[in-house]
């Protein structure tokens, strides 16, 4: 039986006002101390790099059968093609960081410890972004390491001395981080893991199917700006080829994705500040 006196644990240290730093420390401690973080990040790396490798090997093996037009589309975006699937996994991580707190009731405990909501929101977003950026850099360079030899032996120029190639590789962590933030926002908005993940999957895999089949220029324009196509456009280095599906420019893709993220983050932030926890 434990002693019921509390005298032995008095704190004499003066009270210091909590700041962004404390929120950041706490959020880092949170993301470090659950297994789901490690699982999702591991799956993201394995899936992205693995599929990039697979696509590279298959493309290389079939190089002779590719048309000149198809060969012209092979560039750095092909090297990191697996990221197309990896984004969804970091999106799920973004969802989980928030939705598990709502699902378990931990959010109320968190807010009791740190009631300044906008600061807490910012800390969560920053920690997630940093973790995903690091993961994204690993994915980009690991993919480059394993997949690029399959293309360079066919004469594709993937040299990192070209600014465009470096820019395409660095777009990977940025793309992943923005999608993770979209997941985070959906977690805050929907507060429910399954609902938020379904919405994310819908946005990335279902919406493009619909826009792809929309007729006319409106369909084409919409198809360009859906999150998955906007994100993919960020990693393209080759010039647009006639006859292929129109895409945004890399910078256009980045801006489109930024707008998507803002469209979700801004209401998420507003609701988090104003809704009952």
């Amino acid at each position: 039986m434990t002693a019921t006196t509390t005298r032995s644990f008095h704190m004499d240290a003066p009270i210091r006002r909590i700041t962004f730093r404390e929120a950041l420390d706490s959020e880092f401690a949170k993301i470090r101390s659950v297994r789901s973080t490690y699982w999702t990040l591991l799956i993201c790396v394995v899936l992205s790099v693995g599929i990039s490798l697979l696509i590279a090997a298959v493309t290389s093996a079939n190089w002779d059968t590719l048309s000149a037009t198809n060969r012209a589309t092979v560039d750095m975006s092909s090297v990191v093609a697996g990221v197309y699937f990896g984004v969804l996994v970091v999106g799920v991580l973004g969802v989980l960081v928030v939705s598990t707190e709502y699902g378990t009731g931990m959010m109320r405990t968190s807010l009791t410890a740190f009631p300044r909501r906008s600061v807490l929101f910012l800390a969560k977003a920053v920690v997630l972004t940093l973790v995903v950026l690091v993961t994204g850099i690993i994915i980009a360079f690991a993919s480059y390491g394993v997949a690029s030899p399959f293309y360079t032996k066919h004469g594709v120029d993937l040299s990192l001395s070209h600014g465009a190639n470096v820019r395409a590789l660095l777009a990977v962590p940025v793309y992943l981080a923005l999608v993770a933030l979209m997941g985070l926002a959906l977690g805050f908005l929907l507060r429910h893991t399954a609902a938020a993940i379904s919405t994310l999957v819908g946005l990335f895999f279902v919406v493009p199917i619909i826009t792809n089949f929309l007729p006319g220029t409106l369909g084409k324009d919409l198809n360009k700006i859906v999150p998955s196509n906007a994100g993919s456009a960020m990693m393209v280095t080759h010039a647009a080829t006639p006859g292929s599906t129109p895409t945004l420019s890399p910078i256009g893709g980045f801006v489109a994705l930024l707008i998507w993220t803002a469209l979700l983050i801004v209401p998420a932030f507003w609701f988090f500040r104003h809704r009952d926890a």
Binding site: M1, F9, E22, T104
Partner: protein
């Protein structure tokens, strides 16, 4: 010190908390008593800034919760022991909270020590029993050595040992000069721990007074007397300065005295007694009377049962009316 002023929370058309005014003072255990759905948890969530009041305000040491410099240093709260991420170890859960307020790691060890969770500190809290979860919640509440502690239904579902531990802890915390605010829907539990009582029913504060005052005011006891000669007995008893009420069924309710003294009077006067029963309404009944009009969901019972005016509210310990009135008998009712 917690101070609520005109605190109100409305969910759609339902008033969960209705212009509540109360003060929770340091150095004692203040019980927050009310039936289920009375607004206890909503009030506590508003104190912690989790829910936003529709109108009115509540402050901690003079400021709203979200403006506290370091909340855990001033308020420790246990609202829901299950409000932890089950995948995180007990130690890491406490570490996350400690870091949020810039508290050193040594605080985590100190509170783990205090609640006796050393052996499971490294285990994921998802597998904890209710009692262990409750201890983890209390460890979290005491992390910053706060001057105010708030517990929402802390003994719910605990085994007797756990209940005793929490009762003693709350008393010890109050004895150290802390403000202890604890909610319960059980009067019997409050009677054992609380020094002061705030009673809430359907969102309204029904009482806010020292426990002793509440007991004095509400625990009515009287002696039920049946005699074949009530008309002769009543004045004799009234002569002794006791309040005597004649009931429609010819029995007498005599206040301010004990059965033996009535028996003595009757004996001295040569009057017959058929029943002499001490009827004591428990605090639970006093509480039920107080909140009778404000219970959210009544059990399906007819109106004449558990009426607010009846001295004996339906329930355990009600004197058995079927017992034939016989020789003088004293029935001490157990609270």
């Amino acid at each position: 010190m917690i101070q609520a002023t005109e605190l109100t929370k409305r969910y759609g058309t339902r008033l969960a908390v209705d212009h509540a005014d109360f003060t929770v003072a340091p150095g004692k255990v203040t019980g927050f008593l009310g039936p289920n759905g009375a607004g206890k948890s909503t009030t506590m969530r508003m104190i912690l800034g989790l829910d936003r009041p529709t109108s009115g305000s509540v402050t901690i040491n003079g400021v709203p919760y979200h403006r506290l410099a370091a909340p855990l240093r001033e308020v420790g709260a246990l609202l829901d022991a299950k409000a932890v991420h089950g995948g995180r170890s007990a130690y890491n859960h406490l570490l996350v909270l400690a870091k949020a307020n810039g508290l050193p790691r040594s605080r985590v060890d100190a509170v783990i020590d205090l609640v006796g969770l050393h052996s499971v500190a490294g285990k994921r809290s998802g597998g904890f029993s209710l009692g262990m979860g409750q201890r983890l919640g209390i460890a979290a509440a005491l992390l910053g050595d706060p001057g105010i502690v708030m517990f929402d239904e802390p003994v719910n579902g605990l085994d007797p040992e756990g209940i005793l531990w929490i009762r003693n802890l709350m008393k010890a915390l109050a004895a150290e000069g802390r403000t202890v605010f604890v909610s319960s829907h059980l009067m019997s539990e409050m009677a054992l721990t609380a020094d002061h009582l705030v009673v809430i029913g359907l969102g309204r504060i029904l009482a806010d007074e020292p426990m002793a005052e509440f007991i004095a005011k509400n625990s009515v006891s009287y002696v039920r007397v049946r005699s074949p000669q009530p008309a002769e007995l009543a004045p004799k008893l009234a002569l002794r300065g006791w309040r005597v009420e004649r009931q429609p069924d010819e029995s007498l309710h005599v206040y301010d005295t004990q059965p033996a003294q009535i028996g003595d009077v009757a004996g001295a006067e040569g009057l017959w007694l058929h029943e002499l029963t001490l009827v004591q309404s428990s605090l639970e009944e006093a509480f039920m009377r107080l909140t009778a009009g404000s219970v959210e969901y009544h059990a399906g019972q007819s109106d004449d049962q558990g009426s607010p005016d009846g001295p004996a509210v339906a329930g355990w310990g009600t004197p058995l009316e079927s017992q034939a009135p016989q020789a003088p008998q004293v029935e001490e009712r157990i609270q």
